[in-house]
Amino acid sequence: MPGPTFDSVAVGDDLPALLLPPLDRTTLALFAGASGDHNPVHIDLDVARSAGLPDVFAQGMLGMAWVARLLTGWAPQAQLRRLGVRFVGITQLGNMISCTGRIVEKLEADGERRVLIDLRAANQFGQTKIVGEALVALP
């Protein structure tokens, strides 16, 4: 499938959204092992409770990995130049996250054509969890 080209996209265009299933404990456990984030507050309910938290919650980088999937599902990863996010809310178990992106600028830099994309991850209640932006080169 051919990816997007610079001339085929416009400022204001939305990327196809990435919709995740409800967050479960298995996903947190697998991501802890795969990501190297062994902080027990994400996987051990006893530790979370003793720290005054109601339950385990998602690793921030799990949400960022999903945001990255939104981008690499749209354009090949080799074209990704920059990805930056701020974690603005905690993703709880059962949250269904939607990752969305919108092209906000078309530019030329370092001899190539690029688009700047505003990124957001939010749950099914519209609560924002991650905001960020990415720079993607397009042919």
Partner: protein, 146 residues
């Protein structure tokens, strides 16, 4: 309070062999389905030398070194008190299975808000591959809830 004496401290370098199995595990854990992240032939057909590391994998590799967790330990910060505040990657070259990545991280800044109720540790890192080529620059803000 985390002292300002930490600002500018270099955390030393760590070396990570990017293993193919680990990359596939990471791709699975993030719900990835694109075959280039699982199948060497698909990756090669897409122009990669081997299965590529997904965009955020380098942070995982950074965590493996233990540098960040050791730093928090030395600062006397409990893991249950930390949150990830910000993370960014600037990409210069692909990272694929078989690469050997060397990280160097520096503490760029430490600051507090709300009269010290929140403290922020800002790290900057550079990842270089076995050919001496810079593959990514990373920036990371950890929030400590006091």
């Amino acid at each position: 309070m985390i002292g300002a004496q930490w600002i500018g401290r270099e955390l030393g370098s760590s070396v990570l062999l990017v293993e193919r199995g680990r990359l596939k595990f990471f791709a699975k854990a993030m719900g990835e389905t694109n075959p280039i992240y699982f199948d060497e032939a698909a990756a090669k057909a897409a122009g990669y030398a081997d299965v590529p590391a997904p965009p955020t994998f380098l942070f995982a590799a950074d965590l493996d070194s233990g540098l960040i967790f050791n730093l928090l330990d030395q600062m006397g910060v409990a893991l249950s008190k930390v949150l990830h505040g910000e993370q960014s990657f600037e990409y210069f070259a692909p990272v694929v299975a078989g690469d050997v990545i060397t990280f160097k991280s520096t503490i760029k800044n430490i600051y507090s808000k709300r009269a010290g109720a929140l403290e922020f540790i800002e790290l900057e890192g550079l990842a270089v591959n076995q050919q001496g080529e810079s593959v990514a620059r990373t920036r990371n803000v950890t929030v400590v809830r006091n």
